[in-house]
Subunit: 294 residues, 2 copies
């Protein structure tokens, strides 16, 4: 088949041969990662990991307490209370979000978690160490990375960006009505209009394909119309609550490392032979955030 | 459940009540479309429509001969030769593309279609009537819409943008190696680094969810590892070749219409009560391109 070209686009693409073009990096993404020093990687804290077991497999989510600490704490409390065991995927909207939770009124299952939380839609910029992208963004004055997540800033405030795979906490019409009990994940082109309107709480590190391929709901906004269409959630556990032999030792590339700078440049300038135009630009949500299992 | 807020984000959201904010439009997207004059819509030419029948349903794709005329003509010839009947979905890569075609060597099925085509990765800007977006873009100096498709321009040249749902023609390492026989559709965050590197030939108007939920392939780059994992394509027909009673009379909102300007503004400034920050920005690939069936 004639898809050899498209094959060259992937994460595992070999290094381009031939002459360097411009000042583009000379190593492939795979080589950059293989040759990276071990201290450019961080071991993801098990206290920030949610293990969601679905009938078809396991999803692992990293929480982001540096941006949304109250939500992280509440989600940990919900996981400790086994709040989501027997909950369900309730919504799958094309090019938008997949969402899970419980029917209203199940607050008795919430354990020590709060029913409402102060909004955490953004935070002060001060104290955050950014890796900035130099390319323009449609939505924010500045975009880049902090603590392993894609973020944006207007100079005084900073917030996490709704890129593919990012997880947020559904809320009602009032700012404090989200509590982390109903979560959604982005499965389409980044809905950045949600930025600063809702709390983004983390991102999917593993098992994203289990969520993104959920049959789309046929009700308004992709909600399933009957209980039979929902996918049941077997359990959600905090990594730190799991027996050691059930934990996955995940490492994430530090977004403030020299290796990550090289990752960005390797995706901004495409050196593979297949590329006739090396591009020289990148969007925040097209930068890969590498993870690996030890 | 607490997802009432997220429900308010959708295409069908009711008009926001209360006081107008700033100079934002006062009608909801649904109202704008309902109240639009009929001549702001175009009937999509059946000679530009591909009907792809899958076991689970039908996908309808609109070709874009104003940008990629040679590819449109070749794809029409392939459809007339029933080239894709019995072909298969061969690749489903998470947050990237789903691709379909035939195994190499099936050129005898190609009818009058060419095996190679001159590259159509961009075209001259002259003669194209654009609806520009005023928001910045990460990849191009100017972005907007033309002939119903999302497009970009550097001043002299213009090309179609790889937004979610856009369809392209796979190629090998040489510029003329694509012929439209192997097609792919974007199922994730817009891979705009493909712009100007490959011919974008159209977009999915109906049935996108049948492609986006294809089980991901476990081989490199999402290719299926065994024939059994592939989904067979029952048939692909050009609309103009179908009996009249099998055609779908699709109308698309003209992207050079006043109604479309209002659609853009209604999505740039979010007026629904749920939005605490109305945003005031939009990305090219977040602008909906409304279609309706008569």
């Amino acid at each position: 088949m004639r898809f050899l070209g498209l094959m060259a686009l992937g994460l595992l693409a070999a290094c381009a041969s031939g002459q360097p073009r411009g000042d583009a990096p000379t190593r492939s993404l795979a080589e950059i990662l293989e040759q990276s020093p071990s201290n450019d990687w961080r071991t993801v804290d098990q206290n920030n990991l949610l293990y969601m077991q679905l009938p078809a497999g396991r999803v692992i989510i990293e929480l982001a307490p540096d941006y949304t600490p109250l939500h992280a704490a509440n989600i940990r409390a919900l996981a400790r209370a086994h709040y989501w065991d027997g909950a369900a995927i309730v919504r799958s909207q094309e090019n938008y979000v997949v969402q899970w939770g419980r029917d209203e009124g199940d607050t008795k299952r919430m354990g020590s978690a709060s029913e409402t939380l102060a909004p955490e839609f953004d935070r002060p910029r001060s104290g955050v160490r950014f890796t900035w992208l130099r390319d323009p963004d449609s939505y924010a004055r500045g975009v880049g990375f902090a603590y392993g997540f894609p973020v944006a800033s207007n100079g005084r405030r900073t917030w996490m960006a709704h890129c593919y795979g990012m997880v947020g906490a559904g809320r009602g019409d009032t700012a404090d009505s989200g509590n982390g009990a109903e979560l959604y994940v982005v499965i389409g082109h980044a809905p950045r209009h949600l930025d600063r309107n809702i709390a983004t709480v983390g991102r999917v590190l593993q098992g994203m394909e289990l969520l993104s391929t959920m049959p789309r709901g046929t009700g308004p906004l992709g909600f399933y119309e009957t209980p039979a269409e929902r996918t049941a959630i077997t359990s959600v556990r905090l990594g730190s609550e799991l027996p050691a032999n059930e934990r996955v030792n995940i490492e994430a590339l530090r977004t403030d490392s020299a290796t990550f700078d090289q990752v960005i440049e390797s995706r901004r300038f495409r050196r593979e032979d297949w590329f006739l135009d090396p591009i020289g630009h990148i969007n925040l949500c097209n930068v890969p955030l590498p993870v690996r299992v030890r």
